[in-house]
C-alpha cells in the first residue's frame, strides 16, 4: 500500500490506462500522419515510419494509435451496457425478492448458459458487421455475473439499519435503491465493470481477428487480422502484427489491475 492507501499495483495500471486514454483522445499528438495517408507499401521500420507501412501503404504506427480509440470504445461501451443491465436486474431481484427474484435469476441462469463467442459469431454472420452492433451484442451478453454479484450484495444491504430507517422515513423503493443501495454497491460493481471492459476488448479482438469485425473501422484486432490475411506473417513483418497484440495485452492488463485493486482496497458493509 502506498501513501494514498491504494495498492501499489494500481499505480502502474492507472499510468498505463492514462497513456492509452491519451492515445484515444488526442491521437494526432502522437503521430504526424493521417491514418488514411498513403506511402510506399510494405516498408520496413525507419525514422519516418516507426513501424513501417502496411500492404496499402498506411503508416502502421499511426494505425496503431488511431486503433486505440476503437478498442477502448468497444470495451467501455459494452461494459457500460452490461453494468447497467446487471445493476438493474440484480437490484430489482435483490430488493423485491420472492417471485420477482425467482424469475429474474432464472432468466439470468439461462443467459449465463449461452456460449458467448459462438453466439456472437452466428449473430455477426447474420447481421451487418458494425462496431455498434458488436458493442450491443457484447454488452447484452455479459451482464449475468454483474447481476448475480449485485443481487447478493443487495440482499445483504437491504437488511441493514439504514435501509430499514429509509423505509421508515417513507422513501419510495426507487429512491432507496438509487440513493441508499447503489452508492454502497460501487466497490463490488467497479471491479466488475473493469473486468467486463477487459473481457469485451479481448472478445472484440478475437472476433475481429477471425474476420467478423467491422473492416472499415480499424481496431487493434482488425489490424492483426489484416496482417494475417495481407501477407504480414509470410513476410515476417513482426512490426505489423506484434504491436497491436502487445497493445491489447497491455490495455487489458492495465484495466484488470485497476479492477483488482478496487476489489482489494475496499471493506465490506458491516452487517448486524
Amino acid at each position: 500500500m502506498n501513501k494514498k492507501g491504494l495498492p501499489s499495483l494500481n499505480r502502474y495500471g492507472i499510468i498505463l490506462l492514462f497513456v492509452f486514454l491519451c492515445m484515444a483522445l488526442i491521437p494526432s499528438f502522437f503521430s504526424q500522419y493521417d491514418p488514411d495517408e498513403r506511402f510506399m507499401a510494405y516498408e520496413d521500420p525507419s525514422s519516418k515510419h516507426l513501424l513501417g507501412t502496411n500492404d496499402i501503404g498506411n503508416d502502421i504506427f499511426t494505425e496503431l494509435i488511431y486503433g486505440t480509440r476503437i478498442s477502448l470504445t468497444v470495451g467501455f461501451a459494452s461494459a457500460i451496457i452490461a453494468t447497467f443491465i446487471g445493476l438493474v436486474i440484480g437490484l430489482t431481484s435483490g430488493y423485491y425478492r420472492g417471485n420477482v427474484d425467482e424469475i429474474l435469476m432464472g432468466f439470468t441462469d439461462v443467459v449465463l448458459m449461452i456460449p458467448k463467442i459462438p453466439l456472437i459469431i452466428i449473430l455477426a454472420a447474420f447481421l451487418r458487421p458494425g462496431i455498434w452492433i458488436l458493442i450491443l451484442v457484447l454488452g447484452v451478453l455479459s451482464w449475468e455475473s454483474i447481476a448475480r454479484v449485485v443481487r447478493s450484495k443487495t440482499l445483504q444491504i437491504r437488511e441493514t439499519g439504514f435501509v430499514m430507517s429509509a423505509r421508515c422515513m417513507g422513501f419510495s423503493p426507487f429512491h432507496i435503491m438509487s440513493s441508499d443501495i447503489i452508492p454502497n454497491l460501487t466497490h463490488v460493481v467497479a471491479p466488475k465493470f473493469m473486468l467486463a471492459t477487459a473481457a469485451a476488448m479481448i472478445s472484440e479482438a478475437s472476433l475481429s481477428f477471425i474476420g467478423l469485425g467491422d473492416p472499415s473501422v480499424k481496431s487493434w484486432g482488425v489490424m492483426i487480422s489484416f496482417a494475417f490475411t495481407k501477407g504480414g506473417f509470410i513476410r515476417e513483418m513482426w512490426w505489423w502484427y506484434l504491436p497491436p497484440g502487445i497493445c491489447i495485452t497491455l490495455a487489458v492488463i492495465s484495466i484488470a489491475l485497476i479492477g483488482f485493486s478496487f476489489e482489494k482496497g475496499k471493506q465490506t458493509v458491516k452487517i448486524e
Binding site: G98, T160, G161, F162, M164, S165, A166, R167, C168, M169, G170, F171, S172, H175, S179, D180, P183, N184, V269, K270, E272
Partner: protein, 313 residues
C-alpha cells in the same frame, strides 16, 4: 378523556414457519396526544414486533390480526404506497443501534434533510436553513462544524442524536423509539432522554418508547406497559407503577434492579412456539396456585391500572 392518537386493538402477530410462532398475542394499547408510553419487557417478548407492525415493516411470513388505528385510519388495510406517505411524515421510528441505521456514504446534513426533499419537496436553500436550525436543538452547535461529517466520524451518542433529528424533522405525530439507549453510556442515555422528552413537550407529539431500561422508562414516561411473552401483563401510570407494581412479573423486574437488591427472576422466559398453559408467567411465579396453571388470566382493570393476574382481581 383525550382521544387516542394511535390505538392497537387485539393485535396479534404470528410468524409462520416450520412451527407457528405467536410473537404478539392480543395486545391492546392506546396513546393519547402528548403522552409518553413506555413498553417494557425482556428480550424476545415482542416489543419490537409491535413497533414493526405499526410501521408495516413485518416480513411476508408474518400474519397480523386485530387493528391498528391511527387517527381515523386503519393502518393494517393500507397499501405499501399509502403507508409510505405516513411513514416519516406522520409516524417516525428511531431504531436501536444508530451507527448502523445511518448510511455510511452520506454526510449528516444529507441524511437529516433527505426527508424534506422527498416528502415536502423543499427547495435547497430552505432545506439547508431548516436543517441548520433543527440540529441546533440537538446540541450541534455550531451546525457548520457537524453537518459535513460522515456517520463514521461521529460518536455513538452523536449518531443517536443525528438519527433522532433525521426521523423527527418533519414533526411526526407519533415517534416510536425502539431501544434508543442501547449501547450508550449513562451520560448519553440522559442526554437522549432529555431530547426525547423535549420532542414530546414541545409540539404535543406522542412517543412510544420501547426499552428494557426501567430507570430510563421511569424518568421519561407517563404511562408504562409491561410485556411478557407476547402479552401485556400490566399497564399503569409510571408513578403508580414504580410506587407499587402489582403483577408478580413487574415486581420481579423491579426487584432485579441494582438499587432494589439485584434479585433475579428465577428461570428463563418461555418459548413462544409453545407457551405454557394457563398464565404464561406461572412456571416462574412465586405466588402461583392451581388456577394459574390451568386458566389464562385476562387483562382486567384494578383501580387505575390493568393487570393480568388472578391474585390482583
Amino acid at each position: 378523556m383525550k382521544r387516542p392518537v394511535i390505538e392497537l386493538d387485539n393485535l396479534s402477530v404470528t410468524f409462520h414457519g416450520d412451527c407457528d410462532l405467536r410473537a404478539v398475542n392480543q395486545v391492546s394499547l392506546s396513546v393519547t396526544r402528548g403522552e409518553v408510553l413506555a413498553l417494557v419487557g425482556e428480550t424476545g417478548c415482542g416489543k419490537s414486533v409491535i413497533a414493526h407492525a405499526i410501521m408495516g415493516l413485518l416480513p411476508k411470513e408474518a400474519s397480523v390480526d386485530g387493528s391498528i388505528r391511527f387517527n381515523d385510519m386503519e393502518l393494517l388495510s393500507l397499501s405499501e404506497r399509502e403507508l409510505a406517505d405516513i411513514r416519516g411524515e406522520k409516524i417516525a421510528i428511531i431504531f436501536q443501534n444508530p451507527s448502523l441505521s445511518l448510511n455510511p456514504v452520506y454526510t449528516v446534513e444529507h441524511q437529516i434533510s433527505e426527508s424534506l426533499y422527498i416528502h415536502r419537496k423543499t427547495r435547497k436553500e430552505l432545506a439547508e436553513k431548516c436543517t441548520k436550525n433543527y440540529v441546533l436543538k440537538f446540541g450541534f452547535n455550531p451546525p457548520e462544524t457537524y453537518l459535513p461529517l460522515y456517520p463514521s466520524q461521529c460518536s455513538g451518542g452523536m449518531n443517536q442524536r443525528i438519527l433522532i433529528a433525521a426521523s423527527t424533522i418533519l414533526s411526526p405525530e407519533i415517534v416510536i423509539a425502539d431501544e434508543p439507549t442501547k449501547g450508550l453510556d449513562r451520560e448519553r442515555v440522559n442526554e437522549t432522554g432529555e431530547i426525547l422528552r423535549n420532542l414530546v413537550s414541545e409540539k404535543g407529539r406522542s412517543l412510544i418508547l420501547i426499552t428494557h431500561d426501567l430507570e430510563f422508562a421511569r424518568r421519561i414516561s407517563d404511562r408504562i406497559a409491561i410485556m411478557y411473552s407476547g402479552e401485556i401483563v400490566e399497564t399503569a401510570s409510571a408513578e403508580e407503577f414504580f410506587a407499587e407494581p402489582k403483577h408478580p412479573y413487574s415486581k420481579g423486574l423491579l426487584n432485579s434492579l441494582p438499587e432494589n437488591g439485584f434479585v433475579p427472576i428465577k428461570g428463563s422466559s418461555p418459548s413462544l412456539t409453545r407457551p405454557p398453559d394457563g398464565c404464561r408467567f406461572h412456571p416462574r411465579c412465586m405466588y402461583m396456585n392451581e388456577q394459574c396453571a390451568e386458566e389464562h388470566p385476562d387483562l382486567k382493570p384494578t383501580g387505575n391500572r390493568k393487570v393480568r393476574c388472578f391474585l390482583c382481581h
